[in-house]
C-alpha cells in the first residue's frame, strides 16, 4: 500500500498544523466572546516607564550607527580569536603564527581604511532623530 504511507504523512501534517492553530483559535474565540477590547491613549503609548511618552516608536536611525556597530563587531570578534592565541603563543608553530598574523593584518588593513574614510572621527554623527 504505497499510497497509504503518503496519506499518513498528510494526516500528521494536518494534525501538527491543527495542534499549533487550535490554541490560537480558542484564545481568539475566548477573547471575542468574553473580553471586550479596551484600548486607550495612555495604554497604547509608545513607552511604558510611567512618564508621558513623547514621539513615536518609528524613528530614523542614522546609517552611521550601523557602520560603527559593524566596526565594533569586527574588533570584538578579533579579541575572541586573539585570546587563545595569546594563551598558547609560546607553543605556536611558525605556520600558525603566520596565519594569525595574516588574519590580523587583514583586520588592521580594514581599520586603516575606515580611519582614512573618517568613520572613527568626529564626522560620525550619533544622531537619534526624534522622528517628529
Amino acid at each position: 500500500m504505497h499510497s497509504d504511507s503518503w496519506s499518513f504523512l498528510a494526516l500528521f501534517a494536518l494534525a501538527a498544523v491543527g495542534f499549533a492553530l487550535a490554541p490560537l483559535i480558542i484564545a481568539w474565540v475566548w477573547a471575542r466572546a468574553y473580553s471586550p477590547r479596551k484600548p486607550g491613549a495612555i495604554k497604547n503609548a509608545t513607552y511604558e516607564c510611567g512618564l508621558a511618552s513623547e514621539g513615536t516608536g518609528w524613528i530614523q536611525f542614522q546609517s552611521d550607527i550601523y557602520l560603527y556597530g559593524i566596526v565594533f563587531l569586527v574588533f570584538d570578534v578579533e579579541t575572541i580569536f586573539l585570546m587563545p592565541v595569546a594563551a598558547a603563543f609560546q607553543g605556536l608553530s611558525f605556520g600558525a603564527c603566520a596565519a594569525m598574523s595574516v588574519f590580523m593584518l587583514l583586520l588592521v588593513e580594514g581599520l586603516v581604511w575606515l580611519w582614512l574614510k573618517g568613520a572613527l572621527g568626529s564626522r560620525t554623527k550619533y544622531c537619534y532623530g526624534t522622528g517628529n
Binding site: Y34, S35, P36, K38, P39, G40, A41, I42, K43, A45, E48, G50, L51, A52
Partner: protein, 204 residues
Amino acid sequence: MEPEIELQRHGVFTTTVEQLYNWGRKNSLWPLQFGLACCAIEMIAASMARFDIARFGAEVFRPSPRQADLMIVAGTVTKKMAPQVVRLYNQMPEPKYVIAMGACAISGGPFKEGYNVLKGIDRYLPVDVFIPGCPPRPEALLHGLMLLQKKIAAQPLTGPGRPRYLDQNGPSEFPCPSYGAHDLEPLCNHALWQPPSVREELHS
C-alpha cells in the same frame, strides 16, 4: 446533597468554564515590579525564600506594566509620583488589580498631614484589597493576596455583577492627574472616591 459533591464521592470532578477560568486567573497573578517606600522592602521579603510568594503563583514580578496583572502600591505615594503610578496602572492590560499596601498607600499614613503626600491611592485607582500596617509584615501581604484570590474566584463572567474589564461600558482608563499650580489636578477621581462631606449641624 448537591449533585456535584455526590459525583465527587464517586471520583468524578465537574467544573464550569467560569470556575476554571477564575482558577487559572487567581493562581497566576503577575505583580508589577515597583515599590515606593519601606513597604516595598517587605514586598521583596515576601517574594524571597522565607515567605515565598511563589506558593501563590505571584512570584513573577514583571518590570513592564504590559505584562503585569497586579499593582502592589507598596509605600508612600507622593503627589509627584501619583501621575506616574496612575499612568503605569493604565498601561497594564486587563484584567488588573490593585493592592494598597501599608498605611501610606491607604491614607497617607504618618505623612497624612504633609503637603506633598497623596492621602490614599484609592483617590485615583480602584483598589481591590487594603493591607493596613506600617509596614505590613510579609504574612500580611500574603493574606492580602489570598483575599484578592478569593475575590477573583467569586467573580462571575457574565451578568450585571461581572468585573469592570468584562463590561463593554466600563472605563478603559482612569484619568491621570497632572501637576497644578498648588496641588494635583483633579484632586481625586470622583467616580471612585468622594471627599467626605462636612456635616454642619446648627446648635439651636
